[in-house]
């Protein structure tokens, strides 16, 4: 019997709920509001369906921000110019592989060229590669590297012998890339047999137009700190002069594999770290503007990048000579000046991802603040209204006080006092927000408790709690629903305003903070270049706020029969 009753009541409540939803959707304002709220809710719950990036997410391949700073949206390329489009915009382009050098030669992925085919032989070495103990740039360690072996019998010296390992690619955009990053790891191995001697080696990284001029880019443009280079030279026989890397005294033997010469862009700039016996010389190959426009002069067009290895075979003419250079992880990233749907912010992070994930914060804060303010306001209003006397006096006096204080400055001052994480903002908003609703509930309770049905309940001996819970609360519920909806927008816009002023949660990217970044990092120039940056976050705030207001207004129409009659 009991279970039967329960089932019936569940069914009844379900039916009631669905008919209420039906009524809601028959009201156009409510339907509009609900659809937008549901859309944002969906966006907040499943942001990964909208974007693969996260607000401050790194690029999985490079480990840095997803693009250069202040990118415009990529689709601006297809806009007509009078609408602000620019056909010369470029996107991120990865001429990037993690090579195991499977194919080398005329038709292979990597090409090999030398001016002494009989002396220099390339071969993939599957067992010896750069030991990537610390994954940088998201490169997964693949065993093996390309070995370039220079063996010269005694008496056949030809002076300088050059070898090139490079890769060609087609760059499809008509504009210049905004930035680029090259990467290569090299290991120079001396002879392993006693009857051979070593030769010095010069190493260069280059980028250039195919069949055109090659630009040598090593050491990096900004690297002029000679202090530690000298130290490296003294310790390991490396020598950096005239923009090239010389290895004067190659070490012998594979056990020296920790002396790889590594070039990669590092946020720390050029440095070398003695880390678990691995000596890493990090060197950026980041381009600067003048270099970029010089190198990438034929867009769209075919380009190549690679290393030039020069065996400086001028000594020991009468001796056998054997030196091997291992090349690993040869790659190049080109960064475009446009990215994704919305472009990038002042640090190169994806704005669209920030927009999508921002829905979470706004909804979280909006719901939490509205539920808590309504709950506290309901309880306080009921108690004050029903009991009267001192509780009522206290409520009304607090209300008078709160009314007199300027809300937003107070909000900011309090945020400055207790720290502005999102939870603290919520607490402050709840603290400042409950009293208005409490006043509404109080006045309703005051009129309700004089009604005959309360008197009747009291006559049959009902207690205060029972009367409040069974007779007053159901009659106040319509205001509760309305206020649940209408107190969200205030919280959402307040949070946005605070974040915009700089009182944002530093760990989270909210819509207000996106606009803060625009105003205080990008400036007006960025707003003109990338109008989506100012418009979309604000539009999201406005849409979310107004959808809740519309829903609340519609709920008021539906739940308040007096309003319906007049129409």
């Amino acid at each position: 019997m009991r279970s039967m009753g329960l089932r019936k009541s569940v069914l009844f409540n379900l039916r009631r709920f669905f008919s209420f939803i039906k009524i809601l959707f028959s009201n156009r304002k409510a339907a509009f509001g609900l659809i937008i709220i549901l859309f944002f809710l969906f966006m907040a719950l499943f942001p990964f369906l909208f974007t693969e990036n996260t607000p401050l997410g790194k690029d999985p391949e490079t480990g840095g921000p997803v693009g250069v700073k202040f990118c415009v949206p990529a689709w601006f390329r297809h806009l007509p110019t009078w609408l602000g489009g620019n056909p010369h915009l470029t996107e991120n382009f990865r001429a990037f592989t993690d090579p195991g050098f499977p194919t080398i030669g005329e038709n292979g992925e990597y090409r090999f060229e030398t001016d002494a085919n009989d002396l220099v032989k390339p071969y993939p070495d599957p067992n010896f590669g750069y030991p990537l103990t610390v994954p940088i740039k998201g490169l997964n360690e693949k065993n093996g590297s390309l070995a370039i072996k220079f063996v010269r019998p005694a008496g056949q010296s030809r002076g300088e012998v050059k070898a090139y390992v490079y890769r060609q690619f087609y760059y499809p955009y008509s504009g210049y890339p905004a930035d680029f990053e090259g990467n290569v790891e090299l290991f120079v191995n001396g002879s392993v047999h006693g009857k051979y001697l070593d030769v010095p080696v010069r190493l260069r990284f280059f980028v250039g137009v195919v069949e055109g001029e090659r630009y040598y880019l090593w050491p990096p443009v900004y690297n002029n700190d000679t202090k530690y280079l000298g130290a490296v030279d003294a310790l390991y026989g490396f020598n950096f002069t005239k923009g090239d890397v010389f290895v004067d005294r190659p070490k012998s033997g594979r056990e020296m594999s920790r002396y790889w010469i590594i070039s990669r862009a590092s946020p720390m700039g050029a440095s070398y770290i003695k880390d678990n016996q691995l000596v890493r010389i990090s060197m950026g190959l980041r381009g600067v503007d003048s270099v970029i426009t010089k190198i990438f002069s034929k867009n769209p067009g075919n380009y190549e990048y690679g290393v030039e290895i020069t065996f400086l075979d001028s000594d020991f003419e009468d001796k056998n000579v054997w030196t091997t250079v291992y090349v690993d992880d040869l790659c190049l990233d080109l960064y475009g000046n446009s990215y994704g749907i919305m472009g990038t912010d002042h640090q190169g992070y994806d704005l669209f991802a920030q927009l999508v994930y921002g829905a979470r914060i706004s909804l979280y804060l909006g719901f939490a603040v509205s539920v808590m303010t309504v709950l506290i306001g309901l309880v306080v209003g009921l108690v004050a209204g029903f009991l009267g006397g001192i509780p009522d006096q206290i409520l009304m006096r607090i209300n008078d006080l709160m009314l007199c204080l300027p809300t937003l400055p107070l909000l900011i001052v309090l945020a400055a006092v207790i720290g502005h994480t999102i939870e603290n903002l919520m607490i402050i908003m709840i603290f400042l927000g409950w009293n208005g609703f409490a006043r509404v509930v109080r006045s309703m309770t005051l009129s309700l408790k004089e009604r005959p049905f309360v008197e009747a309940a009291r006559a049959v001996g009902a207690g205060t709690g029972h009367i409040i819970w069974r007779h007053i609360v159901p009659n106040v519920m319509s205001v509760v629903y309305v206020n649940l909806a209408t107190s969200v927008p205030g919280a959402v816009t307040s949070e946005a305003a605070l974040s915009w002023l700089g009182f944002y949660d530093p760990t989270r990217m909210s819509w207000g903070r996106i606009l803060n970044n625009l105003s205080f990092q990008g400036g007006a120039a960025q707003a003109v270049v990338n109008p989506l940056w100012p418009i979309l976050p604000g539009l999201c705030i406005a849409l979310l706020a107004s959808s809740f207001i519309l829903l609340g207004y519609a709920l008021d129409e539906i739940l308040n029969p007096k309003l319906r009659i007049r129409r």
Binding site: K29, L401, A497, P537, Y553
Partner: protein, 358 residues
């Protein structure tokens, strides 16, 4: 209880309210992080710091005036004394008397926000009545939806977009300040001047008005105030439309409206003469309350447009933790709201004789 007794009671209560607000402000600013005394050691132009004697002197003044370094109750007492005697001290940020700063900033805020409040009340009420006239039509629902949406827009964003579009993109309006930059330093357009001729027969005063200069003066202010006013107008007009509509809809179901219609009056006459007059009471009192919030109303808008009013002043004070400004602003705003509340209560009594005080 009569009206006089009610007023007396109300005023006595307001004084207590004001004292409570002073205490609350005091507690908040005590809690605020940062040390204002660090502004007392400013770097002088040569790069050095002020001499120890100067610092000591300043600290002594601070201790005397605000009670720094003294027990809580002494501080509170001095604080209350200062506020009640209208001595807000010296701004740490501007190094000038706060009351002097307030003196020249308040007119700008009153002009900006008072003007926009007035415009939005007038436009909103007329619009609201017209919406009631057209009730049930597309215009009605469109107006309601528009009002709801504009009222829930984030102000700072609205201000930012308007600024970007009208000022930076189209270049129609200046983007900062309350008057053209070249007027700074008292070089206002000479719109009018007096010539006083005194003789034995009497005195004659000639007022000469230069129409061109007058136009320059007015347009200079108007152009600078336009965008902030537009922002505030867009933000607040919707509320008045919705409120007027609600109040009017309550009124037009009354019997005397039916009577008026039955007399064959035009609908406009019915609405404005019979409807609005009777619906005006709540509108007028909320207008009084709205004017009470003039001084606190537009911190963000003023900050975006760098309009030199009280809002921007508060904004900078919060950023630089300038307590003396914040205290003064909170105090003045509270007084305004309290006064507006009293005025609203009184208006109720004056305009509606049915109301009994008690």
């Amino acid at each position: 209880m009569g009206l006089k007794a009610f007023i007396a009671k109300r005023i006595v209560y307001s004084v207590f309210l004001l004292l409570a607000i002073i205490v609350i402000d005091f507690v908040i600013f005590i809690l605020m992080p940062g040390d204002p005394t660090m502004f007392l050691v400013p770097l002088d132009p040569s790069g050095g710091t002020a001499t120890p004697e100067v610092i000591q002197r300043r600290e002594q003044i601070l201790r005397e005036v605000w009670g720094f370094g003294e027990p809580f109750q002494v501080k509170l007492f001095k604080y209350m004394r200062n506020l009640l005697t209208w001595q807000f001290g010296v701004s740490f940020l501007y190094k000038t008397d706060v009351s002097k700063e307030l003196g020249w900033r308040i007119p700008y805020t009153v002009f900006l926000i008072g003007g926009s409040t007035l415009i939005s009340i007038v436009v909103g009420v007329v619009w609201g009545v017209y919406v009631v006239y057209k009730r049930g039509s597309f215009f009605d629902s469109a107006s309601v939806v528009t009002s709801l949406i504009t009222g829930s827009l984030p102000t700072f964003w609205l201000a930012m977009v308007l600024l970007l579009f009208f000022s930076l993109y189209l270049g129609w309006f200046p983007n900062a300040g309350a008057f053209p930059r070249e007027w700074a330093g008292g070089r206002w357009p000479k719109a009018f001047d007096f010539t006083v001729n005194g003789s034995a027969n009497g005195m004659s005063i000639f007022l000469h008005i230069d129409p061109q200069e007058t136009f320059r003066l007015i347009s200079g202010y108007a152009l600078h105030a336009f965008l902030p006013m537009l922002t505030l107008f867009i933000f607040s007009v919707g509320g008045w439309v919705i409120y007027t509509r609600a109040v009017m809809l309550d009124v037009i179901t009354e019997d005397y409206i039916i009577t008026a219609r039955a007399k064959g009056l035009k609908e406009e006459t019915v609405l404005f003469k019979h409807g609005l007059k009777n619906a005006a009471l709540p509108l007028i009192t909320s207008a009084a309350l709205a004017f009470g919030f003039i001084l606190s109303g537009a911190m963000i808008t003023e900050a975006v447009y760098t309009y030199p009013g009280l809002g921007q002043f508060t904004f900078q004070a919060i950023f630089y933790k300038d307590y003396s400004i914040l205290m003064a602003v909170f105090y003045i705003v509270s007084i305004c709201v309290i006064v507006a509340n009293i005025v609203a209560d009184l208006l109720y009594g004056v305009l509606d004789p049915r109301i009994r005080y008690g």
